[in-house]
Amino acid sequence: MQRMKIRMAVALFCMGSTVTCLANQKLVEMSKKDTNWVMPTKDYSATHYSKLDEINADNVKNLQVAWTFSTGVLNGHEGGPLVVDGLMYINTPFPNTVYALDLNDPSKIVWEYKPKQNPAARAVACCDVVNRGVAYAPAEKGKPAKIFLGQLDGHLVALDAKTGDEIWKMEACDIRVGATITQAPFVVKDKVLVGCSGAELGVRGYVTAFNINDGKMEWRAFATGPDKDIRLSEKFNEKTPQYGRFGLGLKTWEGDAWKIGGGTNWGWYAYDPDLDLIYYGSGNPAPWNETMRPGDNKWTMTMWARDPDDGMAIYGYQKTPHDEWDYAGVNYMALTEQTINGKKMKLVSHPDRNGIIYTLNRETGELVRADKLDDTVNWVKYVDLKTGQPVRDPEYGTRMDHQAKNICPSAMGYHNQGVDAYDPEKELFFLGLNHICMDWEPFMLPYRAGQFFVGATLNMYPGPKGVMGFVRAYDAKTGKFKWSVPEKFSVWGGTLATKGDLVFYGTLDGWIKALDSRNGKLKWKFKLPSGVIGHPVTYEHKGKQYVAIYYGVGGWPGVGLVFDLKDPSAGLGAVGAFKELAHYTKMGGGVMVFALPDET
């Protein structure tokens, strides 16, 4: 009853004053304009698709550099720039500097924000010191437009979008327990959402909503523990009881292991304004050694749908119960409307680290499809669509008494943190994929005095198809791939699709490429100063279309380059898989912007 009242009050407040809802509505409108790129996912549906077609499959071969900008930071540059009303906002990895450039004269920096951070953050981050982007909230009556930055040391900062002045700063993640921020914050209505990284270190995952104007914490929803902490609504999984309902955040853990159970979310969000639900995924359970945490470990590895006003969960689908591989379930969520089996449905699709692309009815949470991103996925035979359960192959499990060879995908997943594109006209996803497998070898130290288990070594290497990546056009209606293009290295950062029949993406070895989205044919490529782990964006300025992309190799695939690691099993096994990369590219960091030559 109490809750109902609160919900009513929120609804009335929205309709009455329009102030809180305005930001959201305005952002929806702004994201529709192709002069803008107002959030890392382009729009709330995370289409990563632009209706611009000045650059198209016929003329893309003429694309040339329009301007460039060096960020002065050498680590891996994930994410991409935002473009809002003539300004470009650029984020960098630690030290997390933010730059604003005026598109009328990008040769001069309008403002820059250099946060003072706890240097301990650097040591804590597992896989380079990446940052996946900033978030934008439009101005409201008497309140300036804002840029939100998640700092590696766990602070969320609100900046004046015009001046770069700090408006407020809140601690969202506690660096003292190993929690950092690498995620791009996400603005919904009058709230900004952010999660932490650090499941690796047992950080108990949560998402926090802060008020965009004063930074006041509005709600926090955990991934593990009591239902109250996880914020399960009375309706939770009402329509999908097979996924499990109440009490499981405690019952599926031994003792109080849920307190250090991981399930952090550091990936991407999506939002459906009509259903008024946010979507995101929680990550892997901790500790990574599965023998230490018997049970399903709910609700790690879960696709969530929550009410943004109070954070209450409507449904949750755990994709990988009792994860053994570090298939952190944080990847991006794409919202589409398609007709499957004769039924037009609101869908959410999610290419998971575990090698499966899931499509759910996003109103009800029901599983519609679960397809392998590649036929070499072997930890799971298939996903039972009725129960939602993966049917596993124990040969490819990781246990302390078992040495597992050729597990596909590796801990890096067949899809990692990249944001991919969906072309609503062609009804195709363009997926940037990894193709890396691994051996898992537990080790026990020769000593001492009853130490029972100490760790495991992952060795990662190119998958059976001999390359490390693909770009594929996926049809969620049929589960088929329309085309597939191999890449020597993983396509880590994601793809961009345009109405000009093009798919853009960057490669780890430093190429930006444009494929014909109808058939996958390579139409243009350009070698960037350093490898790419971010995603391209496109925008129109003064009637001209531009494509922008970060270069700056690093992140998990580049840890070997960034930290100068030689041991092939170091860096969570990433060095082995990507040793070859050092022959193709070196560290760097910046933005390159492309356009067609002016007609003369």
Binding site: C126, G202, A257, I260, L445, P446, F452, V454, G455, G571
Partner: protein, 284 residues
Amino acid sequence: MKRIRYGWLLLLATLTGCQSNPVAEAVALQGSPLKVCAGENELPYSNRAGEGFENAIAKELGQALGRQVVFVWWQDARFVIKNQLNTGKCDVVIGVDADNPLVDTTRPYYRSGYAFVTRKGVVVKDWDDPLLQRADHIAFVPHSPSEIMLRKIGRYSDMFFYMNELVDFKSRRNKYVRWQPKRLVEDVLSGKAQVAVLWAPEAARYVRDANDKLEMRLIPDHQTDRRGNPVPHRYSISLGVRKGDQVLMRQLEKALAKRHGQIEAILEAEGIPLLPLNEATASR
């Protein structure tokens, strides 16, 4: 019978070599050095500077065998047995559990136990001590019996972050991360931790060197986990050789017997509380 004869032959050879020609002896020693697998930065066990008590024990054994000791250093403990011992790069590991299944082990040459390290005057006798419920910080090494016990008394989860802090939040996957006993003991000395739970031989010298500010107390060996299974807190330590390396095993057994007194002196000087090797035990 055969064993004894072989031993005599060896001894004779050494003696004759020694008397007849010192240079030849040195050459002979160099020709068959005792290759000891040792961590280059694993104090108090071993380090490159030879400051560890296992460095000293290895030298005693080498002298007893009349063989030059060559330390084959490792930086990463993970695959010492697989990649170094089993491939013949080194031949003996100085300290392993007496029943370590990865290697063949000699008869144990010392026995000790897990201990509570506290500031002088702070007495923690057993795992049910109320101080362990009150303590802000309990320093311990994961994957050791202390972890199982902390889980049992309900302090593991809230010590988890401190446990990670003790290694500056290094992840253990794909990496050998060592909890430095020195740092754990120093945290007790500084007052950050109220108690450290350590394998006594790892803590001994740091307690010894703390100007009488610390005390170390062996934990009674009657512990069980949450399900009632025994959790041994006392262990007998042996030398480990490659599986099937009976020749070296016999030589080492003999050397251990011969240098028993000297080895015990090394362990005692280290401050290690030694237990009788034939101690009746709940577990092993």
